[in-house]
Amino acid sequence: MLFNSYEFIFLFLPISFIIYFYLTSKRLITASKGWLIFSSLFFYSWWNIAYLPLILISILFNYSLSKSLIEFKEHNKNYISKKRLLQVGLILNISLLIYFKYMDFFISNTNFVFNSEISLLHLALPLAISFFTLQQIAFLIDSYEGLVEEKNFLDYTIFVIFFPQLIAGPIVHHAEMMPQFSSRWNLVKNYKNISAGLFIFSIGLFKKVVIADAFAQWANLGFTNSATLNLLEAWAASLSYTFQMYFDFSGYTDMAIGAALLFNIKLPQNFNSPYKATGIIDFWQRWHITLTVFIKTYVYTPILRSFSRITFTKAMFATFAAMFISGLWHGAGWNYIVWGSLHGVALVINHHWQKRKIKMNKILAWFITFNFVNVTLIFFKASTLSQAMEVLNNMITGNIVLYHSLDSVLSFLTPFGVHFGTVFTHIGEKPKTLVYIIIAFIIILAFKNSNELTEKFKASKYSLAYIFTLFIVAISMLSNFSEFLYFNF
């Protein structure tokens, strides 16, 4: 079930909310938790019930394993050491992810290298597997390191499966979530949270339906016609995707945060105006923050700490390796690996820069950062590397075509290869694209982000009218129910 669908907004969300607080008001705490689990499983199964057993087995397995890790007694006679136990857990979780997500990628690359003909498995990616695997890996490692005390199974299950964050994050950490689920204070309806929740949910819905879905058409057409784009079209297509990505993913996250807030649960912030970043280090502290924190804590740090003496060079190696893995985590494809590697290299350069204490003009720094993000997202979006190169190539050497109406004023440019005609033919023939791109730039640079707005939110006549307007506009455009980009990861 998508957040941007009638059945979610008008049926699923209200029903799960009303019954949950009916049960808590009758002090049926266990039943209310059971209800939250049931509704989350229902939400998950709406797409494809076939993978329901998989997520349930994963939860049961990881919970039992973490229990063994927590209760492990060193002096007892054990068949297996504590460290081995953790390794088994990590290997099984990662193997599950590799099997469903990467097998066909490995097979097709093997076929390519050895000219073999191993047939592909064509497995459908189990929804949310990339996200619940990470969350449970963190839980296992923390159990091993003694940071987890005996936990309630219901709270653990809700932590993994709570529907607002289940499909595409924010990647939550048990230490910040499980106390919220076990707290009695959160069992009473809180009108301040409800109004703030509806506020950020409406912003997210608007971002997704009104902004991201508009950019999506132009980005999709542009990448389909990658070979024939003129210069302006190529730029418009890549910028469209860059804006689609932000408004789609952060819109989804806003809706997740809003839906969770109705239940008095605070999900962590995932975006902090990333396109205002003035460096790549800065960018990753603002973009998909919960992934950055996870990668830093559970990938970068262990790699670095495995060295006996830590030097700058080794830290840069760990940085690159972490971004490479992050790229691979996003998807089984060379384009994601290229994207991750480019960001890895950029982070290394940025760190060198910082180490030498070189200062750069803020506007220039923003310009370089934004364009780097925009160009690397071409690899992220493209289905093949050659498609990415075509878009990129046309952004540099494509034909320069300007609007008809400029012909009389700028005709002196004709000898320099400038043509006049219809500009955006290959991405949908809509001059609207240009207007949207300009508006999007204004929004990302001049406006406060949804988290800043929600923090200062106070229920009043004006704010309610504001929520209502955003909501109605978004609902009226809700027709094609497009999926969120991050559901594929």
Partner: protein, 81 residues
């Protein structure tokens, strides 16, 4: 070990890692106050604190060591165990 002793030793570690003998720290000093307190130096700090006091931090704890005070409090908590 008193909190003052832990603080003094931690202060020396900071001077050493950031290569600045005149560096002053308080409980609320954080990465915003020291330019070169990045993820690399954060791990250097943690490693030095571990070595100095003979304690061990878990991966899941490193993100919470946002300022000097948090670092000292967790060190003391581990020393008293």
């Amino acid at each position: 070990m008193t909190r003052e002793e832990v603080f003094t030793k931690t202060h020396n570690i900071f001077k050493d890692i950031f290569d600045d003998d005149s560096l002053n720290i308080t409980d609320s000093t954080n990465a915003d106050d020291i330019d070169t307190w990045d993820s690399l130096n954060h791990i250097n700090l943690v490693n030095s604190v571990e070595k100095e006091f003979g304690v061990k931090f878990a991966l899941g704890e490193l993100e919470s060591l946002k300022d000097v005070g948090a670092m000292i409090d967790l060190t003391i908590k581990k020393l008293s165990k």
